[in-house]
Amino acid sequence: MPPSPGDLVLDAQDLHKSFATGRTGWHRTRVSAVDGVSLRLRAGESLGIVGESGCGKSTLARMLVGLERPDSGSITIHGRDVARTRGRDRRLLRRQVQMVFQDPYTSLDPRMSVLDLLAEPLIVHKRVDGAAARRDRVAELLSLVNLAPELMHRYPHQFSGGQRQRIGIARALALEPEVLVCDEPVSALDVSVQAQVVNLLRDLQHRMGIALVFIAHDLSVVRHVADRTAVMYLGRLAEIGDTTTVYEEPTHPYTQALLSASPVVDRSRRRLADRIMLAGDPPSPTDPPSGCRFHTRCRFRQDRCSQEQPVLRSLDGPADRLVACHFAEQTRDSAGAR
């Protein structure tokens, strides 16, 4: 039964994930990739996740689709916690949440025809019985992503990058998921074909009521696609809220710096020169700073920031937005003054 718009389809609470990276001396070192992230996704909405490399956005995506198990925290789909379970509940996660990968050149098996690629999930999940019925379903999936059904007997190398990404999307749609997690879905594509794939994803979201998690480093694409945007820094959420609010009234000092550094295609609004500088390099995730993880690079830093971890909180005002900063009221005002 498809959920009606606004229903909660995925509820991730307090996800943690760290990876062992070897040892220095006697100590095992661990990278804390995701540290206490909570997300809620409603049917048919799109959530953008932005942040720089190493901020944990891909690890988060992989946990949401079940490719990684969180160390702690829960992922609830339709009231069932699927993060720690095996067997049937795990299959529920796989069926409801599917992933579109970044690189369409390596994510499709070169020795499988498009028919085999798209029929595989149908067979594994016993969705469609009989070769003829499967072929019909594959044709349907192909037309869903604007590819001609006659192409189903071809192999991945016979397609262009944009077409391959469409095949990847069709494969993700095969089980009629409610959530599609897209990890940098256009960054491996030629500039002139990126818009095609962005449009397709938005179209699927609206037409089929699929919820999108859209991870990208291109801030202008996220702004275009996402209803809500989450900004991550070193494994934690810095800010999350309505996309327009986050972009037009960025409040976390990191969001402000990130947005000011992203180039715009407008000669009259060149802003590299007066962007907000970040002091120093990103800290190593094996040894994250205490308190607020951003405090080493923050221009509003005070003593409290290195001692006390700020929690996500809402500000006064009507905007649907949460910020993890002790001094959010002041930083918001300073952004307005710029």
């Binding site: 818009a195 992203s262 390099d281």
Partner: protein, 333 residues
């Protein structure tokens, strides 16, 4: 004034053809390049458009199966065409240099940064080990690496991606070349680091009066730093001009379509303009204008007759039969 300044790079009729088992593949066809001292020229194109092949040909770094020909190729007043490999080798580094995209594979992992930068000074300037090391420390400080005296003894893997890119830039500018070619120098970097690198390139060419040829596929990067832009499609320059002019009123449908497909804040919620199809492979180029199968301005003539690159306005060239209509459409939007 910039355009009155001396020319650093002057190339006419550059063509690069790769010999493969399936026959010869033209990657660059009849490209003219001009970069003046202190000027930043962007070479904009997608993968396979020939932008990197053109740059490597200028540097004399083409792959072994490539055939390079040109009517003229000058660096300052030196004719590059007549030079033998040893002479060209001497020019690389001293008078022209290149910054590569992937800093980790462009640096030698088993030598310290100091040794790699120092090698330039020892090889080209005949400095001693000690002098070269001091020069390396200087240079690292100049490109904004903190605590250069300590970090000069570290290995490439100990630096972050942005720092490694700075090291490559340091090596490229070490001997004060007239021309720096930067091949997608920020593509692998995060936006905050990208902004730092672009700013560094911008200030270096201003302070040291270098000519910079920036190869990129990113319109945002072009818009932020370029003085002039050349747009390449399917191995040819399809449009060139000053950045303000070209980005404001594109004269070629490809540029116009690229600009239109960039998401704008005020168009949220609408479908993006999408260019149909995908870029042609160099082995199967369409007849006539190479962009015609994807072009919104296409007429019959485009399918048979390839438009030459012609002057459309002061300092502007474009290769399109319908450039007047394109420019008009861009203005009225």
């Amino acid at each position: 004034m910039r355009h009155a300044s001396e020319s650093a790079l002057h190339v006419r009729g550059l063509s690069v053809t790769f010999g493969t088992r399936r026959g010869s593949v033209p990657a660059v066809v009849d490209v003219d390049l001009d970069v003046a001292r202190g000027e930043l020229v962007a070479l904009l194109g997608e993968s396979g458009s020939g932008k990197s092949a053109a740059a490597r040909a200028v540097m004399g770094l083409s792959a072994r199966n490539a055939t390079v020909s040109a009517d003229a190729m000058r660096l300052g007043d030196t004719d590059l065409l007549g030079l033998a490999e040893p002479q060209l080798r001497h020019l690389r580094g001293t008078r022209m240099s290149m910054v590569f995209q992937d800093a980790l594979s462009a640096l030698n992992p088993v030598l310290t940064i100091g040794d790699q930068i120092g090698e330039l000074f020892r090889e080209h300037r005949g400095m001693s080990r000690r002098q070269a090391r001091a020069a390396a420390v200087d240079l690292l400080g100049q490109v904004g690496i903190p605590a250069p005296a300590r970090r000069v003894g570290e290995y490439p893997h100990q630096f972050s991606g942005g720092m490694r890119q700075r090291i490559l830039i340091a090596m490229a500018i070490a001997l004060r070349p007239e021309l720096v070619i930067a091949d997608e120098p920020t593509t692998a970097l995060d936006v905050t680091v990208q902004a730092q690198i672009l700013e560094l390139l911008d200030s270096l060419r201003r302070d040291l009066n270098m000519a910079v040829l920036l190869i990129t596929h990113d319109l945002g990067v072009v818009s932020e730093v370029a003085d002039r832009v050349m747009v390449m499609y399917a191995g040819r320059v399809v449009e060139a001009g000053s950045a303000d002019d070209l980005l404001g009123t594109p004269a070629h449908p490809y540029t116009e379509a690229l600009l239109r497909s960039v998401p704008q804040a005020d168009q949220r919620g609408q479908a993006l303009y999408a260019i149909p199809g995908s870029p042609p492979s160099p082995t199967h180029q369409p007849a006539g204008c190479p962009f015609h199968p994807r072009c919104g301005f296409v007429v019959d003539r485009c399918r048979t007759e390839r438009p030459p690159l012609t002057v459309v306005a002061d300092g502007r060239t474009a290769a399109c039969h319908r450039t007047e209509e394109v420019r008009h459409a861009a203005v009225t939007g």
